[in-house]
């Protein structure tokens, strides 16, 4: 019997009007649409806040990677409150500290530095997704 591969849930910040929130969403789009489209699924934080049953069920069933734009950590908190399991928490600020030359600016449209920072963050998230899936496969084959 072939088991269906479970997707990793990606939940970014929903903060509007702040560059770091925009970076988190751009990174999430890059992972779910370009880097690991078959292995990940984007769940909007707003749906979790609204208590959307379908979104809560998805989050509760699969490991999640959260990407927060600030230390309030809304994405991580809402995944936990929705009964989900966080496999890894990311904070845009932590990634920026390692790439000081990529200062994000702009809100609706990020500057070049912000887009590059989102790209770096997306690669880090994709690597974590690979690690989770590899660990799951190893566990299932054991």
């Amino acid at each position: 019997m072939t088991s269906q591969i479970q997707k990793i849930i990606i939940v970014p910040c929903s903060g509007i009007g702040k560059p770091y929130g925009t970076v988190s969403r751009e990174a999430a789009y890059a992972v779910t649409e370009d880097l690991r489209p078959g292995q990940t699924q984007l769940v909007p934080l707003a749906l979790l806040v609204l208590g959307d049953e379908e979104s809560r069920a998805v989050v509760a069933e699969s490991p999640a990677v959260t990407i927060d734009g600030c230390k309030l950590g809304c994405a991580a908190k809402m995944v936990q409150q929705s009964g989900g399991t966080i496999a890894q928490e990311f904070a845009v600020l932590d990634v920026y500290r390692n790439h000081k030359d990529l200062k994000p600016q702009g809100i609706a449209e990020l500057n070049e530095g912000g887009m590059k920072l989102a790209g770096v963050l997306a690669e880090e998230v994709a690597a974590v997704v690979d690690g989770i899936l590899t660990a799951k496969e190893g566990g299932e084959n054991a």
């Binding site: 702040k18 560059p19 770091y20 734009g69 600030c70 230390k71 600020l93 920026y96 000081k100």
Partner: protein
Amino acid sequence: MSDFLETTVDKFTFKVAIDRFYNPEGVWVKEENGRIRIGLSDFVQQRSGDVAFAEIKPVGTTLAAGQDVAVIETIKVNITYTSPVSGNIVEVNPAMTDAPEAINLDPYGAGWLAVMEVTDWEAERAKLLDPQAYFNIMKGQAEEEAKKL
């Protein structure tokens, strides 16, 4: 008796430690055995947002009151803070390099910026605000900020 003066404006609560002095910018000054330690008030750190980087003038720097002592980059703004006193920097908080979020987490404790030697503390202190005076200024600033929300 509480160690802080507190006020809540909108949904935010701001604390002012009562064991030190302040300048109007919200830089605190605490005398410790002949040296003074400086840092940022709770209101300043909350208003500025999560700190990304903190650059403090290095040990050995001589500053007059009003000269730049630190540049703080947060997720919202870059702000230059001036020294509230005249003196020499003799110690910089090592956490400012590796974990500047200490400013947000513990502004009156682990988030201190630097230690300075001053030649005439009594004269310097006379130019600073006591906790109640700073609290009054800070409360006004917080209420002005709240009107912008």
